[in-house]
Symmetry: D2
Subunit: 337 residues, 4 copies
């Protein structure tokens, strides 16, 4: 590849920022040019491992003139301002989900992004998981006929800390939002949301009036039904499965095993070790592919990166689920507006 | 066993009546004493294969003085009268589901049954499936801790004839009713029903204003959530699965394979022949065990037969689902009344 | 079927004789006409359950004039004389394996059987197992191209009593003989046998100079290689598997599960209950089909019953394996003579 | 880690040399210091990607004084001289298998290696496969009781070029040698070898008098039996499986899937994409762990690297298998000498 590497400015060096930093350093198509974090020690630690200049000021990074694109991995409340500023400077953006917890702020940003004409990608990493994307491509290719039902099982290994639950926006905006985007990855035209939430095991959720358990049903314009099954814990390891049921067959994506070894004894047979336990392990390949697709997007090439509007659609669905779960009604949505 | 065989009167000799006749004849604890069907040729054909006296009049059967118990496998609209008459005569009843499509008629019968003090069992055969009952027993034994989520996937191989759809009472009363009972088999205390229905492939359903596809979410008093995923067709064979998710693990019941043979080629590996395609094949063992449990019930022994009130509860849930699916609201139910 | 039922005389009422008696009684194409056992109480007990006249004399049964065919389930040393007598009387025979432990006696009987022109079937029941026969049919149909390697795993749940080991003829003639026939079911033209035996856990085997563990390699005329892996015990339940490896794919037959339920916890996932533990359970369907095919054979119809020469071939292979295991050489065999 | 990185000299830059070069560059504990290949363009190409000085002379590399250890990935006939020279210079060696095709040359080198007291590791990469090593550790930990039978299925995706077959030393020395080492990984004390070879599909093998299909049975001192099933092709992808059968259970290692997606249709259910097709993909993790263990060995730390004597033992078994396959006898071996 003779093209110069894309110089990326990384904002935020928490857990997910570090994953992106490592991928940027490992991908020959990108270099980690600048790193910004108000907690500057975090930025420095990342720079030591992966290179890049360090600042505590995202603004300095954005206006350095030394970056070709921005990757936003800072806390959610900073996303809207950073996206707005970056596109104003003509910098393509890859922003972690969600855009914001407040749809009004997202809607306010929307025309600005549209007017800027600069690509903004949302970090819905699961779209890039090789198994999920393969399943979706095979559905799209007609291997199971018309898609009639989609079942997404998505259970985290363990609930987040109580403090995090308090600022998370609730299970639908924080956790299910990934599943809303996955639903739209298979079936974009969603028109109705019905959700049921429950709080059965997590004190953090109880304390903050949130759910730890949820079932969401979505309906598409042409009558397909989607079920999302969530729990904030999973004793067997990260539970991430999809079943696509069509008029001609069923495509399933199983949990990711950690071993090819199975034990059979007089007590039980074919017992495997528990599933992968952590999202960074489960989606390691997805993050790298997500970056590669963003490079293509930033360069104006054909790209499968989810867009700002995909991010907005997921939030609209999350808001609708929240309302449905509390008011006990099905909520109609219009994602096409 | 020195006890005399239970003399059973069978009312109805359609497909399911014939299954019961064969099981009654095969079980040393029962004999097929009388067979009644207004279509008397059907009754005669059954008698030729399995013995028993024949009549076109259920009343003659009930009052013959030669039966110890009644098995009702006649059309749904006849159930209420037959049950009422049988218990009035002191005859224990095993009645195919549903009791009736109209909850008012069921409620009218209820005090009569209660007053008679004669056991009435409902034919929820799936409770007796060795795999489902094993899963339920293992949940009850605490193998997966507290049960938090139950997922029932239930898809028929192919839709019924359009004429049948018209008198079926709709997908929730006709098909999901089995799944409502299965949900209560694991988690009896259901308090809320949310259902979404869709009509995507079956002209019969469309013609009669019914759904061919449905998702139902149930909530229990202590916050467990149940999902029922239905379709009136399944291209891979009868799709009957359960996943019980608990605080300490997951118990799954897979589809029933038809073969132990798997083919691997350069195109695909580990491909198995399609699943069992027909409910009589899938639940053959269940029907025999159901009969054995009814014998115990009729004899006043400890029995796991589902009761009249189980049949009523399933109908209440079906009615609630129907209302929820049409009004797009969650419907509260009180099964304890 | 308007044809009269085949009247069968059963000789021997041990464990396997009782299985045959039940199948004869259950199959409308057969009736259990006579039952002979020197231990006449055994015969009587069978007759009480399944009908038939009783005698302690096989000769009385054979010459009764009231049977159309004979099923020989008596001890191995009686087989040769009974087969000879039956075919002399023009009675078709289904004889349990092996014909005899002494190939000289088998060879002496062979021309008598041939001259009699009466069909003799050998009880290699595994040929009728629906999964093994399906795998073999699919291999024959070319689904995996040319068959190059066949692997048969065959492990009994537990070793037989020490006394039985002493008269069994050794593991190759007693246990592997089933696998030799299975090998020939897929690949009849075997020309060489190499076997290794070991005694690692069974005192009965050690006491009688027998092996409890064995590996046998067979070669066919056109170079296919077959591996038979035997053990006299299996802690996970009866271990009966086949892998057919061809130029275009792999067909496998897995062990028979006892449940569709799988448990996943933090310790292990997808753990199933142990496999079927007993040959009568594992091969229940096979015995019934074996009988049906014998009926066809006895009636002169097209039948897949293994023949006297199949029984002889298996014994030749067992003798060769025994010699190979002791002399540590590969032994050439000629099954075509 | 404050310890300086181990400076490695790499000899040979073919396919496997390039894998090692990439791993050396990626592991912070090692640096690629020198690269030697008579085909100097190959060495240069590797240096451009991963660093290191280049020479066409292994001698220059060995005597540079700038390396701490040698990794030998050159053609087999060069191994003995390079190992001898390296240990003479006090340099720890990691050498690709086999040491040589001629046991006499290996035996001549053996006392030299022993006298030098410098660690020599053999590149039996499969020992480091996480699944195989986990299975072996669990067997060693007693999870399946006493190990009685070990079955190794090892089939390459496709046969090598005919020219390669001619210089490969034959299937046992070239391909099965990995399986001999794997057998010894589980059960080191092997005393007897019986092998059967066949040539059924590969013209290259036929042309050079080699086999393309082989079954080998090994016996240990205490009576365990090992079966190795080999083919030079596998239509479903690289077929690498192990079953360890013990007195208390069975541990299996399945083939490595390429996807978590399974397709079910009316034709077949649960069909997965083909297995991994290439050894570099299948054993990518193993090569990296192999290197890490070699670093420990070179540093005098506890290490699980297979030794020179492990390499010699595998060759002795291969020679015995070759002789057994041609002379049709079991061959006794003494690996303890």
């Amino acid at each position: 590849m003779t093209e110069a590497a894309l110089r990326i400015g990384l904002v935020g060096t928490g857990r997910i920022g570090q994953v992106h930093a490592a991928n940027i350093a490992a991908d020959p198509a990108t270099t980690l040019a600048w790193i910004a974090d108000p907690y500057v020690a975090g930025a420095r630690s990342v720079a030591e491992r992966f290179g890049g200049r360090v600042t505590d000021s995202p603004e300095e990074l954005l206006t350095s003139g030394q970056i070709d694109a921005v990757l936003i991995a800072s806390p959610t409340p900073t996303h809207v301002d950073l996206i707005g500023r970056a596109v104003g400077l003509g910098l393509p953006v890859l922003c972690e989900k969600p855009i914001d917890l407040d749809i009004a702020r997202v809607d306010a940003l929307r025309p600005i992004v549209a007017a800027a004409g600069v690509p903004v990608a949302l970090g819905f990493n699961r779209r890039f998981d090789p198994d999920f994307s393969s399943a979706r491509d095979r559905v799209a290719a007609g291997e199971i006929g018309r898609l009639e039902q989609l079942t997404i099982i998505s259970r985290d290994p363990a609930p987040p800390p109580a403090e995090y639950v308090g600022v998370s926006g609730g299970i639908f905006r924080d956790m299910t939002i990934h599943d809303f985007d996955m639903a739209r990855f298979f079936l974009p035209e969603i028109v109705e949301v019905s959700a049921s939430g429950s709080t059965v095991f997590d004190d953090g959720a109880r304390q903050h009036g949130d759910f730890d358990t949820a079932i969401t049903t979505l309906r598409t314009a042409d009558g397909a039904l989607i079920t999302i099954i969530n729990s904030r814990h999973s004793p067997t390891g990260y539970d991430q499965r999809i079943e696509a049921f069509g008029s001609a067959g069923l495509l399933t994506v199983a949990n990711a095993p950690t071993s090819l070894v199975r034990l059979s004894t007089a007590d039980a047979v074919e017992a495997a070790p528990p599933y992968q336990d952590f999202f960074l392990q489960r989606y390691a390949a997805a993050y790298a592919i997500e970056l590669a697709e963003f490079v293509r997007l930033a360069r104006g090439e054909q790209s499968s990166s989810p867009t700002f509007d995909d991010g907005r659609a997921a939030l609209i669905l999350a808001d609708a689920a929240q309302r449905s779960a509390h008011q006990r009604i099905a909520v109609q949505v219009d994602l096409s507006a």
